[in-house]
Homo-oligomer: 191 residues x 2
DNA sequence: CCTACCGATCGGTAGG
DNA sequence: CCTACCGATCGGTAGG
């Protein structure tokens, strides 16, 4: 029972993710979702409490993946900042490419959540950016990096990576994208 | 009469731009817009034929601004590619910062347009990216730039710049952002 | 998981 | 630019 319940709910969320990416959260009706799942609209509510609960699951699911990985990178001892930044970038990109549609929802639709989730989510975003920035700041102190404004550069890097969810085509295999981003940005801030 | 008509319609579009940015195209009703403008919902239709016409005006308005500027940059004679790329980046950023909300709609809501606008718009995006990329490719030939994959690098740069519309705060005056982006990316691809 | 339905709201129009 | 309204669709619920 438990297993079936969970997997059906997860299947529902996976289908909703694709629809939210294609048509937006506000542009997707529960009837659209029901049709894609293959049940009647009213039946959705035996799996989820509300439309928004689905959005919350997608957004916080991705936020947790990003945060967990970055925390692992930050915990490394005796690791040059250049290497940490490299790992932070490639890991971030790997999480994106593992689920492009969920990333799109995470990045573009989170604003449709209500309070208190809206505030919690924003805090996570700000916290993530601060942790990411701490790698740049540490690299400036060690002399590995040369950049005037870590706040700016962090935003510029993360904007570029997260923009991946809108790319129409890739010129390389997805698993090579992280390396390409890391090369570009590390060269851009190296001393 | 003509003047008043145009300026009223432009005011309507300006207000719609703010609402579309805040709540999305699908999440903004014509009644929301009417209330913000200060008239009744039905009265909107003496200014615009449909909700989508407003979206078209915003999206193509921005697309044209971006394209016009890039064409000017490409037309420069006896200009090093590094300088052209610098001008392409700072100009693109200047257009974004001049109207952040319109950029957000241009970037996030264009998918809600119907055919044939959808196809026309996509073509413009692809054309813009190709023109932008041609600067990188020319710079490789002259030996100014060193990068393995111009398709990738173009997408990475434009993703970063366009991501500006989601930034919560700036760490510098908006007019300095273009220079900061140009520094980062030119250093990242310089020989 | 379905049927049948709730009140609310949607984009848009007719006629003035 | 307003009033009054159209048919369609929305998120969600009751009862089975």
């Amino acid at each position: 029972m438990g297993v079936t319940e969970i997997s059906r709910k997860e299947r529902l969320i996976a289908i909703a993710t694709d629809l939210f990416k294609a048509n937006g959260y506000a542009g997707t009706s529960m009837r659209d979702l029901a049709a894609a799942v293959g049940i009647e609209a009213g039946s959705l509510y035996s799996h989820v409490r509300s439309k928004e609960e689905i959005l919350q699951a997608i957004c916080f699911g991705m936020a947790n993946k990003f945060m967990r990985h970055l925390d692992q990178v930050l915990a490394r001892k005796d690791c040059p900042c250049t290497e940490k930044l490299h790992a932070a970038i490639t890991g971030h990109v790997a999480i994106i490419t593992a689920d492009i549609n969920a990333t799109s929802v995470f990045w573009n639709e989170w604003k449709y959540m209500q309070e208190p989730w809206l505030t919690d989510f924003s805090k996570m975003q700000i916290e993530y950016e601060a942790k990411f920035r701490s790698v740049l700041e540490a690299g400036i102190k060690t002399g590995e990096f040369c950049l005037a404004d870590p706040v700016f550069t962090t935003s510029a890097i993360l904007s570029s990576l997260n923009g991946l969810q809108k790319w129409r085509t890739y010129s390389m295999p997805p698993e090579d994208l992280g390396q390409a981003f890391a090369n570009l940005f590390i060269k851009g801030i190296k001393t």
